[in-house]
């Protein structure tokens, strides 16, 4: 049925779908790639290689939009991001190589399972606004990972430090690997690791996670680009749609009950993850 749609409809359809994804992603507190990839694989005719490449570029574009502001506002922290990004980049490159080397149906099945697991994690995961870090660990002290930011709602200056840096670094290898292999953004994993494991305040964790994508996404994206997995008719409307949707989402954020939206996002992920899984299994 999809074959009878004239080519010029596809940019419009993709723009509309990614615009909607951009809005609900912001309201649901996720990066967008984690919805984009399973929706594209589950319901669109594009091959997995093109979708993963587009997923990484969509995540990159969203990150590039937000990061300059987040850096200037002291919310995205360069010294927190740099060591983690280095490790995650290496993981993402290997993930992309692995993803391209494995048979498409195996990757599709793994992706479906991964999305379902991520949705379950999102359903269960807790967040901590200001986690307590009694003592910074040796590695973070050596790397100078600590910071200060102004909490705009209270005008209070918050000082923060981190712990469990070595454990977080190991986790970032796995996060990079999964992100590169499936073309997902990694906010679903980096935010909990930074916030709950390392003890980074939630706002800094969310902002630094968004910034991290501008470093890790291109490292895996290059592997797909060099492989020729670039379909402009998929990438460009998706990038623009997602960015505009995210801007609208950010404006709606103060006025919408985000908890309900988060459940919708999880519902979409469960549905599209299951669809990707079934497609991989040949149904």
């Amino acid at each position: 049925m999809l074959e009878i749609i004239p080519w010029w409809n596809w940019p419009i359809i993709l723009f509309g779908v990614t615009f909607a994804i951009g809005i609900v992603a912001v309201l649901g507190g996720v990066g967008g790639g984690v919805i984009f990839v399973p929706v594209m694989i589950g319901f669109f005719p594009f091959h997995l290689d093109f979708v993963r490449s587009a997923g990484l570029l969509v995540a990159l574009a969203s990150s590039l939009s937000a990061s300059p502001i987040l850096l200037k506002k002291h919310l995205a922290h360069l010294k927190l991001a740099m060591p983690m990004a280095l490790i995650a980049s290496i993981g993402a490159i290997f993930g992309a190589i692995l993803g391209l080397a494995l048979p498409a149906d195996i990757v599709q099945i793994s992706l479906g399972v991964t999305i379902l697991v991520i949705a379950a994690i999102m359903l269960k995961a807790k967040k901590s606004e200001y986690p307590e870090v009694k003592k910074a660990d040796t590695l973070s002290t050596m790397l100078g990972i600590r910071g200060t930011y102004r909490e705009e709602s209270t005008n209070e200056v918050i000082n923060w430090q981190v712990h469990k840096t070595p454990q977080a670094m190991v986790t970032f290898v796995i996060i990079g690997l999964v992100a590169g292999m499936f073309g997902l953004g990694a906010g679903w994993a980096t935010v909990p690791v930074l916030n709950l494991m390392m003890g980074v305040p939630l706002k800094i964790a969310v902002s630094t996670s968004s910034f991290l994508l501008s470093i890790t996404a291109p490292s895996a994206a290059w592997i797909y680009i060099n492989r020729g997995a670039v379909l402009p008719i998929l990438i460009v409307p998706s990038v623009i749609g997602m960015m505009l949707g995210a801007r609208i989402g950010a404006k709606l954020l103060p006025r919408i009950r985000t908890k309900a939206i988060r459940y919708i996002v999880i519902g979409v992920m469960l549905f599209s993850g299951a669809r990707a899984l079934l497609k991989g299994l040949g149904f």
């Binding site: 010029w8 002291h74 050596m142 501008s214 291109p218 997995a229 990438i235």
Partner: protein
């Protein structure tokens, strides 16, 4: 009220990222319009694209005769291939940002971060070089 000072490297990084993003996105939109408006002919006609987008990247390249990497430079005369340029530029901004902060870290005698930045540049350049063939 306590004034928070942004480290020089963060400020430079943010400015470059912002400028690169703006240039990359404008180029992306302009080249895409050239592509879909048919101003420059594509390698794969738009009305035939649906025959190929369900193929793996490897099969897509074989069937369309598209070359990637350095051997594909000659194909930039086609509008679909031309779209690679802004995409590659957007993917390369991070390398430029990192290169700009390395001297700042060395000047501040923050050698650990200078070396982390150098390593990140090497990783990204390695990925971008196309050496890693799958």
């Amino acid at each position: 009220m306590q004034e928070l000072k942004l480290p020089e490297e963060s400020l430079i990084y943010a400015r470059l990222l912002n400028a690169g993003r703006a240039i990359g996105l404008v180029a992306l939109i302009i080249i895409f319009v050239i592509y879909i408006a048919g101003i420059i002919p594509p390698r794969v006609p738009l009305n035939e694209l649906s025959n190929y987008w369900g193929l793996s990247a490897k099969d897509y390249l074989t069937k369309t005769g598209i070359h990637t990497g350095w051997s594909g430079i000659g194909m930039l005369r086609y509008s679909d291939i031309l779209n690679f340029l802004p995409i590659a530029f957007l993917s390369g901004i991070t390398i430029i940002c990192y290169l700009s902060i390395i001297p700042i870290f060395f000047r501040k005698k923050d050698r650990i971060y200078a070396w982390i930045a150098i390593l990140e540049v090497l990783v990204l350049v390695f990925a971008a070089s196309g050496i890693l063939k799958v």
